[in-house]
């Protein structure tokens, strides 16, 4: 039987073969990864370094002819002493905490229930994951209608259950409901993602561990806490990491639902940053703002990944 590798080698044109023949393995490896490294440097690292540089200036991208002044730490000081920005950070933290909390709680519960064998399991799984397949723009518009006080389903249901007139309150308006409304929409959309990761974790637990526990007469409750939870935990933590990073930069859905309002009640840091950078065109200032957010996410994520690795090692 002819050797296929030898056939390919024979088919390689001579000049290339001759050139490659003279290279070491390390050189060939570099040859392969060089385009990727170049792209990474050009698209990620260079802009990052450039942003750091801009953050120390008063540069405005809409005034290219104006002289750019070096302002030292002024942008950072202004941002870190701005009460409005701290309020936006708090709003972001509120959104982040509660979306993660509900998505983990509901996502894990759904995964645990779906993991059992029953008729229609596949169909139900497909239905549950549908929201995460939708575009955030569609979800934003769709929920705006659901939250509409006069024709929206949400207010109608609240009226049906509590007797509160549907048109007497607005889920996206004043009254303190808006921050919770965006949490509900994000939870509806992304809980299936957490559920799928948890499901992968649950299905990776070998049956023999549960069988051994049964033989040892461990109760279902004990099996849950000593087998299921520890073995799913790395998966769950991974899901939290993904969703945490995503929600820290949440923008589109909230803009469509509330535009950051009422007032500043749902003004997340990412929305504020966009306004500073591309509406007010304070490029230097917004670069500093972006660096602060980047360091925050990067720092938190690094600590979290270390914790995740420790959990996996156990």
């Amino acid at each position: 039987m002819p050797d296929p590798i030898a056939a390919v080698a024979r088919a390689t044109p001579d000049p290339i073969a001759r050139k490659v023949r003279g290279l070491s393995d390390r050189a060939i490896a570099w040859l392969f990864v060089a385009p990727t490294i170049f792209l990474l440097l050009a698209i990620n690292i260079f802009p990052l370094i450039w942003t750091v540089r801009l953050s120390f200036t008063n540069y405005r991208a809409n005034r290219p002819n104006e002289e750019v002044e070096w302002v030292g730490l002024r942008n950072y000081v202004r941002i870190l002493t701005d009460d409005g920005i701290w309020a936006n950070m708090q709003t972001t933290a509120h959104f982040l905490f509660w979306t993660l909390f509900f998505q983990v709680l509901i996502g894990f519960t759904l995964a645990w229930l779906i993991n059992r064998k029953f008729k229609g399991n596949d169909l139900l799984t497909t239905l549950i994951v549908l929201p995460m397949m939708l575009s955030p723009a569609v979800v934003g518009n769709f929920w705006t209608f659901l939250y509409q006080p006069q024709i929206g389903l949400v207010n109608y249901v609240v009226e049906l259950v509590t007797g509160t007139p549907a048109s007497s309150f607005s889920m996206l308006g004043p009254g303190g409901y808006a921050p919770w409304s965006i949490v509900i929409v994000d939870t509806w959309m992304w809980t299936p993602f957490v559920m799928l990761i948890c499901l992968a974790g649950l299905r990776s637990i070998p049956d023999y561990i549960y069988e051994a526990a049964e033989i040892d007469r461990a109760s279902k409750w004990r099996q849950f806490w000593t087998i299921t939870i520890p073995m799913v935990l790395p998966f769950l933590m991974l899901a939290v990491l993904f969703r945490g990073i995503e929600n820290f930069k949440m923008f589109d859905m909230v803009v469509l639902l509330t535009g950051g309002g009422p007032g500043n009640e749902t003004l997340l840091a990412s929305i504020d940053l966009k306004r500073e950078a591309f509406e007010k065109w304070r490029t230097g200032y917004s670069s500093a703002y972006a660096i602060i957010l980047f360091v925050t996410v990067f720092g938190l994520a690094s600590i979290y990944v270390k914790a995740l690795n420790k959990v996996k090692e156990r």
Binding site: N62, Q148, G263, N264, E279, K280
Partner: protein
Amino acid sequence: MKARLLAATSAAALCFAGGASAQSNELTLCWAAWDPANALVELSKDFEAQSGIKMNFEFVPWPNFADRMLNELNSGGQLCDLLIGDSQWIGGSAENGHYVKLNDFFDKEGISMDDFAPATVYAYSTWPKGTPNYYALPAMGDANGWFYRKDWFARPEIQAEFKEKYGRDLAEPKTQKELLEIAQFFQGREIDGQTVYGASIFTERGSEGITMGATGALYAWGFKYENTPGSYDMEGAVNSPAAVEGLEFYKELYKTATPPGYDNAYMEQSLDAFKSGQVAMAMNWFAFFPGLYADPNTGGDKIDFFVNPAQNQPASTLGGQGISVVSYTDNMDGALAYIKWFAQPDVQKKWWSMGGYSCHRAVLEDPEFVNSAPFAGDFLEAMGAVQDFWQEPAYASLLLAMQERLHNYVVADQGTAQEALDGLIADWTEVFEDEGKL
């Protein structure tokens, strides 16, 4: 082989030359996507026929219009040869070199700014404000006005009930306070088996909505940006007792006389509320009035229009735009030819007849103008008392600060009107300090 290469190169060169020629014989005009833009497409067919230049149009929905177009200008993009940009952009676009200064061109072609309504020349064309430095030709006059359900107002039982309650006939309001009373009168009323509401007003948070709506009340009460124009001296002007009262009024109008959930509404929502028969009155830009009048369900004899009511003084919030030549165009001659064509009185008359709001005095001062549409007289009256937002290069920062302060107070119930306007002065002072103007 060489012959084939030569032929291929020649063919490619010819194609390229053809492409370049076609490109220079085309113009792209950028504007917002709304009714007047469709009228301009029709009007521009005359220009195409006369000049042989093909017109392309790039229309962007209002909520994204500023973002999209300012990005285009700031990046030196060549998408637009001509831009009908908002009046507030003129300062930044002039100072940053995005718009071509048109003085020499106007002089050469005999286009006189005296032929256009002074308020529109001041607002849409000049920078620095009021100086004879022109960066646009007034293209689309506009102001924030009102329209109402004339058929509801005319019902005898409603008339009688209103008279009993307020001691006067139910008619178009002459003051802001009358407007509030009428709106409150209709709020929650049953008409034809449907619950209706008083008025749809602007409360939008994201772009410019609540500022454009609330200034209608603020200007009427006496709000001013500066004590002396050009001084940036805002204390006592922005937060004057009259301004505070005007802002409190707008909040009361929002709280007591608008449909439920009306907390993030701008042009589109106002039109929807009116056309769906939810509200008795609505505010919106005059640009929409021809379309509203033509609406088969709520237009015709069911609708009428009125200018923004005065309170301490007559005043309307300015809308509208001038048409500018973008500096980065690769068809400067074509763009200027369009401006020259558009400035002609005959073209301006046709522009008005098709639904565009001409600013040309030959149109506005025609004795027949007032009777040419049911809202024409109101438009003239409004344009005689318009006030505009800051037109500074930093207008976006100034606008976002006002959006935040107003929405926080009016919609989100935070603080008092006095605190909102005091805070606004602090925000604007910071912006002007950054700009080196204070």
